[in-house]
């Protein structure tokens, strides 16, 4: 069973992994389509890397506690091994004087990746519910992030504001639509 999990991991990151897990679950009849979507939605709400939470849920429904360990661990082992290897290589290359220019370029491109990923994330989050209100709150938080240097304090404030004024953050309808869309999309694919 654990080997089957490790098999999942040879695929690329993000949505490709979710697609691979879905195929595996359906083919081996571990979960129904509906149950799979449930694990997806639930793990999106969980803190941390959501694919790990999903692997945990799937692992549990396949073979209990052993599966809860095998799922996330099996998912991580190949990535971690490759990461260690690449990090060593990177360190080694960084020591060579002739690599200075290439390294400078790589940091530039990587900073660009970070900006692009932030923009994609921003589009996703601002699109939930009422866009203008979201954009306003986002701008306020962004301004605050330059005043309050500790991100944890800002997050605490955000939660407090949400509890005091939940109507500002009402995305109930949007979220429901989103869940149905996701379900439709996964049925189609």
């Amino acid at each position: 069973m654990e080997f089957a999990y490790i098999g999942v991991t040879s695929f690329g990151g993000g949505s490709a992994t979710v697609a691979a897990m879905r195929q595996l679950c359906l083919r081996r009849q571990w979960l129904s389509e509906r149950e799979f979507v449930d694990t997806l939605v639930l793990s999106r709400l969980t803190p941390g890397i959501s694919i790990l939470a999903q692997a945990l849920l799937i692992g549990r429904s396949v073979c209990g506690v052993a599966g809860m360990v095998a799922g996330p661990v099996g998912l991580l082992i190949p990535s971690i091994t490759i990461t260690i290897f690449l990090a060593r290589l990177y360190e080694w290359i960084a020591l060579m004087p002739s690599a200075e220019g290439a390294l400078h370029a790589v940091t530039g491109v990587t900073a660009g990746f970070a900006v692009a990923l932030s923009l994609q994330f921003m589009r996703d989050v601002l699109g939930r519910g009422r866009f203008r209100l979201n954009a306003g709150i986002f701008a306020a938080y962004l301004a605050l992030s330059y005043v309050i240097r500790n991100p944890l304090v800002l997050m605490g404030l955000a939660i407090a504001l949400a509890i005091l004024a939940p109507q500002l953050f009402d995305e109930a309808k949007a979220a429901k639509d989103d869940a149905t869309h996701r379900e439709e999309a996964s049925v189609e694919s």
């Binding site: 945990l56 990535s79 790589v106 709150i137």
Partner: protein, 168 residues
């Protein structure tokens, strides 16, 4: 930075984020607090993280390596594995929690802060990488390539080629 500090930083950063790069702002503030050249370290870790397969959030494994070698990798892995355990708790309470407007509002408000903090941090990273025109140009190339759906590996290959050509 001691191993305990590393664990604590990775754990907290994952606990209040939702995967991807959302752990970056917290981590950045912790690294700055510990006296690291945070932006350089983060950019190197992100570069390695983008080249490896798996979710983007795994750049933290590379960070663990750069901070403390293999023990750092082990510590970062544990810090990454723990927060998803909360899914079990959420599953128990989902019916009650999901209908609570305050809970939904808190999640949404939290995502808005995370995005705002991330915008702040990635702007800082871009600024850090743009020490000259070449760095700024490569940053722009990175943004465009990823937004157009190119593989990060392709972007890094382009950067290496450009770097070798220009600094010959």
């Amino acid at each position: 930075m001691s191993l305990e500090q590393l664990f604590f930083s990775v754990f907290i950063a994952n606990l209040v984020g939702f995967g991807g790069l959302s752990s970056l702002p917290i981590l950045r503030s912790q690294l700055v607090g510990a006296g690291f050249a945070a932006d350089t370290l983060l950019l190197h870790s992100l570069a390695v993280g983008q080249m490896s397969p798996g979710p983007n959030g795994l750049y933290l494994i590379a960070l663990g390596y750069f901070v403390a070698g293999l023990p750092g990798v082990a510590i970062a892995t544990i810090g990454i594995l723990l927060p998803p355990l909360l899914v079990l708790l959420l599953e128990r309470m989902r019916v009650r929690l999901l209908h609570l407007p305050q809970f939904r509002a808190a999640l949404h408000s939290l995502s808005l802060t995370v995005v705002a903090l991330l915008a702040n941090s990635s702007a800082a990273l871009a600024w850090h990488a743009s020490t000259d025109i070449f760095g700024a140009a490569m940053t722009a190339v990175g943004v465009l390539l990823l937004l157009r759906g190119a593989s990060p590996l392709y972007g890094i290959a382009v950067a290496v080629a450009a770097g070798l050509l220009i600094y010959r």
